[in-house]
Symmetry: C2
Subunit: 635 residues, 2 copies
């Protein structure tokens, strides 16, 4: 066995105030690694099935990884995980920024938080120490002032603060966790879990750098990564335009989600695209810890009703979609304002936009009226209504805000009158801004992600579908042939399964999609070398893919024991129906062919095709036989 990786886990019981440090040992770290892998390991071991996600029995985990914070572009992310109050299923969201590395510098791989604080509090983690401090003075503050106050209190302006914001305090079911005011663990309502625990923030600061197993090797790999980023076309696009670069190509392809998935082309696309942002409101290109890509945007709208401050960053592609094309809003300043508000309140911009779209479609169909919307004209395209709705949702105000704060699934059920068909959700989580009708692998990704519709828990398939440099990048997996984006069938399933191993593994190793996914700088075969240089483990792409598969399987088991099954692995009816406009007008997804792909997927994963229950043999193979007790009654 190689030299042990010596990570530490911080355990905090907010009910009792008890804090302790645990060293799980090398086998656990190497098998579960960090992020989603380590979090699901502890959740499966220690969380009772069936608990209220917003009750004290839920367990909230902040998890960096054995590699988070190494000096190499893109290996920076950390996970927040718990049972999701939005879906009732496995909850997990990743974020970049600076918090993940700082938690490592502060001496911990992960923080496992149990119980419920009797009063508002925050956790201060610094150089191997941790303390629970009162947050009574910051409770109710927006994220900016709260961060400032915490930094003052702990006496360190470089403390990194991951917090839930006022929306989390109000337990908006899709409240997120924000660090540095602009990097969000966005999905599955992890901010609401913080709020339910009266935990406003985790602040971290460490003065120790990470010890690399092989510093020379790491330096060499970091240099290679930087050179590749500097020379590789997609990296330059990401630097130049950020994720908003996607607006125009997706619009042209007819898969820019528009008007609550009615259509795939938005006439105002040019006004909200990355190029337009660069010409108008872009204030700065920014990046995460140690990253040369610098895909993050800081925008400023200096004056007017949508005046925004650059300290809250700028809208990503997802937000330009969810608060823009999805709502038929072609006003970049309004979207930027909406984005800023979400970061001030701690709201997931995707779920917010999809929730507002539900209300707009209900309104246009007479299912909601001005009596329900606080007197606002809630039509698609009304930017002011969108802005107002964000305030209301974050504060659970005016009936409508409280309703939409529950997420579209619960909201539509409460509205009734057929509103369910306007609710674009899977397992209760709102769909991201990608239309499976143009890329069926994305449909698999949405239907099969354990966190509900999610675009970072499983792969997009478009960049890998066509001949070209991306196909060569995945050749080390044995994926050698192009598979057209709209193809259904076994080849698509094969590609999806292997890419899902990778995407899942990203979230356990802390790798960013934007250095390892579409932008993909370092070749796949270098990844085990990076892990080696960091930890001393002579791993392989095989072991790393198995880590990804293991993590997907653990999340599946989590969901099975909460009562989820094949019935929940589906798409909203609208996605099966034809697109009303754009380049793919008339195209839907064939329900039977899609269902057949699900069957192939389950079987390819070693899961019972009836309900997606992993076989005992598959659990054994993945070193997860200890989970058999949770699913044996389900076969």
């Amino acid at each position: 066995m190689p030299k042990a990786y010596n990570g530490k886990i911080l355990r905090v019981d907010l009910t009792t105030g008890h804090i302790q440090v645990e060293e799980p040992g090398e086998i656990v770290y190497r098998t579960y690694f960090g992020g989603g892998g380590l979090a699901s390991y502890y959740l499966l071991k220690e969380l009772k099935p069936g608990v209220d996600p917003l009750g004290p029995e839920n367990i909230l985990i902040f998890a960096s990884t054995a590699c988070t914070g190494i000096p190499i572009s893109g290996w920076v992310r950390f996970t927040v995980a718990a049972k999701s109050p939005l879906t009732g299923a496995y909850g997990e969201a990743e974020a970049g920024g600076f918090f993940g590395p700082e938690l490592k510098f502060a001496g911990f791989d992960a923080v496992i938080i149990k119980g419920q604080s009797p009063k508002p509090c925050y956790l201060w983690v610094h150089d191997g120490q941790a303390e629970i401090r009162s947050a009574e003075a910051i409770w109710g503050l927006e994220t900016g002032p709260a961060q400032e106050r915490i930094r003052e209190e702990v006496g360190d302006p470089r403390a990194r603060v991951a917090q839930c914001g006022p929306a989390g305090e109000k337990m908006v079911r899709y409240a997120c966790v924000v660090n540095e005011l602009k990097h969000a663990n966005g999905r599955t309502g992890m901010g609401a879990v913080m709020g339910s625990k009266n935990l406003r923030a985790v602040a971290a600061r460490g003065t120790q750098r990470l010890e690399m197993h092989d510093p020379e090797k790491m330096k060499e790999l970091g240099k290679l990564q930087s050179e590749l980023i500097a020379s590789w076309g997609p990296s330059k696009v990401m630097r130049n335009l950020g994720t908003p670069n996607l607006i125009m190509p997706l619009n042209t392809a007819g898969i820019l989600p528009t008007k609550n998935f009615h259509t795939g082309a938005f006439e105002g696309a040019e006004n909200i695209c990355g190029e337009k942002m660069r010409e108008t409101i872009l204030k700065a290109e920014e990046g995460c810890y140690a990253c040369a890509v610098r895909c993050k945007r800081a925008v400023e709208v200096p004056t007017g009703p949508y005046a925004t401050s650059p300290e809250y960053g700028g809208p990503e592609y997802e937000t330009l979609g969810s608060l823009g094309s999805f709502l038929c809003i072609g006003d970049l300043a309004a979207i930027a304002k909406g984005n800023e508000l979400c970061n001030r309140y701690g709201l997931d911009t995707i779920s917010v936009g999809v929730a507002i779209a539900l209300a707009m479609e209900c309104y246009e169909n007479g299912v909601l009226t001005k009596a329900d919307t606080g007197g606002l004209d809630f039509r698609f395209g009304n930017a002011d209504a969108m802005i107002q709705a964000i305030h209301w949702i974050a504060r659970r105000e005016k009936g409508l805000g409280d309703l939409l704060a529950e997420g579209v699934k619960r909201a539509a059920q409460k509205i009734g009158k057929g509103a369910e068909k306007f609710a674009m959700e899977i397992k209760g989580q709102e769909l991201p801004m990608h239309d499976p009708r143009g890329k069926t692998g994305q449909g698999l990704s949405f239907a099969l992600s354990p966190t509900g519709a999610d675009h970072v828990e499983a792969p997009h398939d478009t960049p890998f579908a066509q001949p070209g440099p991306m196909l060569g990048k995945i050749a080390p997996l044995g994926l050698l042939e192009p598979v057209p984006a709209r193809e259904n069938g076994p080849r698509k399933v094969r590609n999806f399964v292997y890419l899902q191993y990778l995407w899942s593994m990203f979230n356990s190793v802390g790798i960013c999609n934007f250095t390892a996914g579409p932008v993909w700088s370092l070749p796949l075969n270098k990844w085990p070398e990076v892990v080696y240089a960091a930890t001393g483990w002579e791993t392989s792409l095989f072991e790393l893919c198995k880590l990804g598969e293991r993590t997907v399987t653990m999340a599946r088991v989590f969901n099975l024991r909460e009562g989820f099954g094949r019935k929940d692995d589906t798409l909203p009816d609208r996605i099966y129906e034809a697109l009303e406009g754009g380049a793919l007008a008339g195209k839907g997804i064939d329900r039977k062919e899609f269902d057949e792909m699900l069957t192939l997927y389950y079987e390819a994963m070693g899961w019972d095709p009836k309900d997606g229950v992993p076989t005992r043999g598959k659990l054994a193979e993945l070193n997860l036989y200890w989970l058999d007790e949770y699913v044996k009654g389900k076969r």
Copy 2:
């Protein structure tokens, strides 16, 4: 896509004499690679199910690999494959030596041989050319004279000759293919298939060296491999004692197969061990093409009834077992003579020994008498009887020879009177010299090998079972914890499945067990680099393991369509029963626990636990969906 690997396939129809050359293209080569992978691909595509293995419809494939013959120790092997006349199942056997590389030098990755020659013939393959030549003058000759004659006829003393020998001509069901008189594709009766086609030999010669994609990288890896072999303890043991080094440790551990698996300790072990061979009859250490290990033995018994010539090599561990301890024969000279005779006739030494053991046990139990044994006293321990029996078997003489030439399964059925319980076979193939009662992974290996009981189609588990350097060697697969040799259950299945990926892959890439298996010089993570340097494919351990899994699955499908199923994946009754002596006296294999491991294995492989039929999803995942038509009626 990287630069294409430009291999060629030679197709020969012996019925018509038609010869053609095919270039299957890079995708086929990279997906199926060579050896067992490429052979099973073509057999599944082109061989009709249900054909007589000894009829003209059987297809015989000689397959090197995309890496065979590269200048690096141990990447030297080639495969001969066909439907097996011994088992009726998938037949495959690998050999080292010099033939595999020479076939590559001659311009071909593989030779696919169909039909039946009207007269004895041999195939002469040289520098991109091929011709069918008459073998009437060599038919009936022992291998030595035949090789000499062929070299004379083709006018090249460096022609490498792989031939079936007189035993193959007689279609002894376990006749092997021998190259250089001493390297055997031993198992599953591939020599009998040659005989049935009237094909005595394939002779190859090429004057072109292989073109490496990255010669500098290959040089560096070759140097590293040589340094590791020079410094790594097990390599030194292999050099010093060869495979016979195993006799004493296995005897001490109580798992040296003795007296037809009655016991695991042989009182004459010291007289037949590697150390004794070195002290007495060892003439030279030899090796295969480009290999620094040099584990092969050449022995010489200068005079007496057992006088042997070193040009036929010397007995491996398997032969010391099968003609030695297994028959209670403690006379090294007699074993050496038996080994030489097997190489002269072209007989598999393992099957020969186990066949003789059947006769001896029948004789001692009165099931056979002197009337059946040609008057010989056929007791265990009678070395002369063993020698005589080899002659008879090879020539199918004296009733007994003809009977035993059918293999122990058919022979025991013909003998009747309960002889079946003395027949140590699985799927009709005789067990190698490893006792699963001391290493349950070996039991899985025997029961699950598609070729019947076989020690090189799936892993031994002993060296990987204990803490120590071997465990670290497999850590890149994520196998981090020791699993005791006699443990049953999920951990054992997990280890077995991953190691089977490797072992299966060895046979498709042409890697020798003795540089990659127990001796294991180059670290696992260097293997993809070797493939890259040879072919230009940026592969990974993931892709290579999937190649192994794919090949196992193809062979499974082959067997399913021939009517094999779970009922055939078992061990002889005796192996479940207690060992009668030695360190593990009293130990057997728990039938229920073993059966439970089989279920876990099927499930871990994505196979139906009822009969081991791969699911459609698993076929899709492995890029084998085209095989669904063969098994869909079996689910």
